[in-house]
């Protein structure tokens, strides 16, 4: 500026014009670069969205049909000639509890020995009087779990014996595949899973509407099953995952937040804490399967905790989640302006008071989000669980975290490897939908809580 101020007026005007032209030239260049970059960014965002759309579209289109399975609405006659069991025992006045239990158990054993398939065959044949369907074919179209349903109906209500009642029966996996058109109708008989009479029976009853789709609630209420795949469900895996999440929430969140607070607010800066810091950062990058190995070596070999237990799974996932929670909590603590700390210390607050009265309240939303995201990450983790035996086939809902259990991501892994691919492929996608739904729910919770708490603050 000073150079122009002292220069003669004419040359100053020239100089200004020249500089403006220069700026304009560079402006075009800058604008071009900006447009280029903006388009590039937009393109990346669109590509990412397209990937997500394809992924979700794929998962939903494959998985959603699995939530509706073909069922048969039929009349079942609880034939007394087939169900030959004595009266259900009633506890007599002179009978001890143990005696009654023994009698009940023996009655239930008798009930279990009944050939329930005969009832099924009879009702399958009765459902389509015009069709010739042999016993074997009749059994093959209905899910093998149905016989337990019938047994339980009688166990609950022995008065059913001798009656004919409407029952909704699940079609077998093969029957469901055929009804859904997942098996080519052009294949020769030798390569079909179902015999011709069975296939014809399904086709004619579908035309009648007696065999129809119904929402498969049992996916949520049943446990996994190998013998009756059509009625296999996620309940066991869901409860197993729930237990693990509880363990992670109870252990990883308080330990992670407390160590982050200590390291960030109280620990002296020296070699030891530097080492700890480096190690925590490194732990965050350790592949999750290594944590599984560690869990197997420590929790199972040294502490002799049971295999396949959600408690062990939860402990392993806790180890895996800790670095995530610690790092995220520390960075949100570090984001607190120093002026707030000074204000508290300057008033004579102790360090602990400063942290708990002033720093934590403002970082709470961040810590909460970090914790929920850490827990969500743990929920979806599969690899470490494989190494502590959670890939075992477990067909019950664990009553305690010490019992053997499945887990949602491992269930997905097991189902995708099932030999009945035709039936289990959609089933796997259905399980993925359930897991993703849970994840989205957790993330939405994190976002909602964050928004709420930040608005309050």
């Amino acid at each position: 500026m000073t150079a122009i101020d002292t220069a003669p007026a004419g040359s100053a005007a020239d100089e200004n014009a020249r500089r403006r032209a220069q700026i304009r030239r560079s402006l075009t260049r800058r604008n071009r670069a900006e447009t280029r970059f903006r388009l590039l960014g937009l393109g990346s965002a669109l590509a990412a969205m397209a990937f997500v759309a394809v992924l979700f579209g794929n998962i939903l289109s494959h998985g959603l049909p699995a939530f509706w399975q073909y069922t048969l609405d039929a009349e079942v006659t609880f034939d007394a000639a087939v169900i030959r069991v004595p009266e259900r025992p009633v506890q007599g006045a002179d009978q001890s509890d143990a005696e009654f239990r023994a009698a009940m158990l023996s009655w239930q054993r008798r009930l279990a020995m009944v050939n329930w398939n005969r009832l099924i065959v009879a009702s399958v044949q009765a459902a389509a009087p015009g069709q010739q369907i042999d016993d074997r074919a009749a059994v093959s179209v209905i899910d093998s779990g149905v016989r337990f349903v019938l047994r339980d109906m009688v166990a609950d209500n022995p008065a059913l014996i001798g009656q004919t009642v409407p029952v909704r029966m699940l079609l077998s996996a093969d029957g469901d595949n055929w009804a859904k058109g997942r098996i080519s109708r052009d294949l020769p008989d030798a390569r079909q899973q179902l015999s011709r009479p069975a296939r014809d029976w399904i086709d004619s009853l579908m035309a009648q509407g007696t065999v129809h789709r119904a929402f498969a609630w049992h996916i949520f209420t049943n446990v996994d099953s190998r013998t009756s795949p059509a009625s296999a469900g996620l309940a066991g895996a869901f409860v197993g995952s729930l237990y693990m999440m509880i363990v992670v929430i109870l252990l990883a969140v308080p330990i992670g937040v407390a160590s982050a607070i200590y390291l960030e607010e109280f620990a002296p800066r020296n070699r030891a804490t530097d080492l700890i810091e480096v190690n925590i950062n490194n732990l965050a990058a350790v592949p999750s399967i290594v944590f599984g190995l560690l869990g197997a070596a420590v929790f199972i070999n040294i502490f002799h905790l049971p295999f396949s237990a959600p408690l062990v799974g939860g402990l392993v996932l806790t180890l895996m989640t800790l670095p995530t929670i610690i790092i995220a909590t520390r960075s949100s603590l570090r984001a607190v302006p120093p002026s707030l700390r000074q204000a508290a210390l300057g008033l004579g607050a102790s360090r602990t008071q400063m942290v708990f009265h002033h720093v934590l309240p403002v970082t709470f939303p961040g810590i909460l989000t970090a914790s929920i995201l850490g827990v969500a990450q743990a929920l979806g983790e599969t690899a470490p669980l494989l190494l502590i035996g959670m890939n075992a086939f477990v067909a019950n809902i664990p009553a305690t975290p010490m019992e053997q259990s499945a887990a949602l991501p491992v269930q997905i892994y097991l189902w995708q490897g099932n030999e009945n691919r035709n039936f289990f492929e959609p089933r796997t996608f259905a399980a993925i939908i359930v897991l993703l739904g849970l994840m989205i729910l957790l993330n939405a919770l994190a976002i909602w809580l964050r928004g709420r708490l930040e608005r309050k603050a």
Partner: protein, 271 residues
């Protein structure tokens, strides 16, 4: 103050008019930040119930020296303070003295207004509460009102004590911070460039406030504005490159500086 502190011990000389006793005394104070020395052997006596201003160019160490009095330098990583500082004859580095107690006696107002993200009421009540100076709601209410009255903020906020302190204007926030410092009943108030983030009108209000507060408190103020030092202080200390160059009555410093460097600074030739 409505809640007198047990630590207040008026000395005989404190009671006799103009000859003010020295409340703070610094002997050969040095401060290092890691290997770098920031303060070189500074000694001074600060009289009670008056305003002492620290002036000097940026980076001369005046704020660092101020923070020695309530040991805020302890919170800075790698900072070491040497020498002796006594307040009412008590060594503030005495291991038997809790730094929390010291900071309750020596309040501080910072450069940037830093109210807690809480209500105006809670901002004031926080200090007295943690020090156990108030019991019950009535007592707290009275203390909050008196602190806000003294800071000249009461009329402006009386009807919205539940509103967040961060919602006030910059000048009001700074007076809130002063009220907050007053509420714990300190003997000394340290002010680190309290008006540097304020506009001239808010600055004038805060300066008037400082003027009133000196009747009751010993105030040490760091300022970038020589006019401000001249307006509010009785004594002025000029710092340069970590050394105390000159310390004396404000009038003498501005009218008749003994040191060449002081003169150069106040006439605008260095700084």
């Amino acid at each position: 103050m409505s809640a007198p502190l047990t630590t207040i011990r008026p000395t005989a000389s404190a009671l006799d008019g103009d000859a003010r006793a020295n409340r703070i005394s610094a002997r050969d104070v040095t401060v290092h930040y890691g290997p770098k020395q920031a303060i070189f052997d500074v000694s001074m006596e600060i009289p009670e119930r008056s305003v002492t201003a620290f002036i000097g160019p940026s980076g001369c160490g005046k704020s660092t020296f101020l923070r020695c009095f309530n040991r805020m330098n302890d919170t800075i990583e790698g900072c070491r303070v040497g020498g002796t500082i006594t307040i009412d004859g008590e060594d503030i580095h005495d291991p038997a003295l809790d730094v929390v107690e010291l900071r309750a006696r020596v309040g501080m107002v910072f450069q940037k207004p830093n109210p807690f993200p809480k209500s105006i009421y809670d901002n004031i009540a926080y200090g007295p509460r943690i020090h156990g100076l108030v019991r019950g709601k009535a007592e707290t209410d009275a203390l909050v009102e008196s602190a806000l009255q003294k800071a000249g903020l009461w009329k402006e906020v009386a009807d919205r004590l539940d509103a967040p302190g961060t919602g006030l204007s910059g000048g009001q926030q700074q007076r809130l911070c002063i009220a907050r410092a007053i509420a714990t009943g300190p003997e000394v108030i340290l002010m680190d460039e309290p008006c540097s983030a304020l506009d001239p009108i808010a600055t004038a209000v805060v300066e008037d406030l400082i003027h009133e507060l000196k009747e009751q408190y010993t105030i040490v103020i760091v300022t970038h504005s020589m006019q401000q030092a001249a307006r509010v202080s009785q004594k002025t200390a000029f710092f340069h490159l970590g050394k105390l160059i000159e310390y004396g009555e404000t009038e003498q410093i501005f009218v008749n500086p003994r040191e060449k460097q002081t003169e150069a600074y106040i006439t605008g030739r260095i700084g």
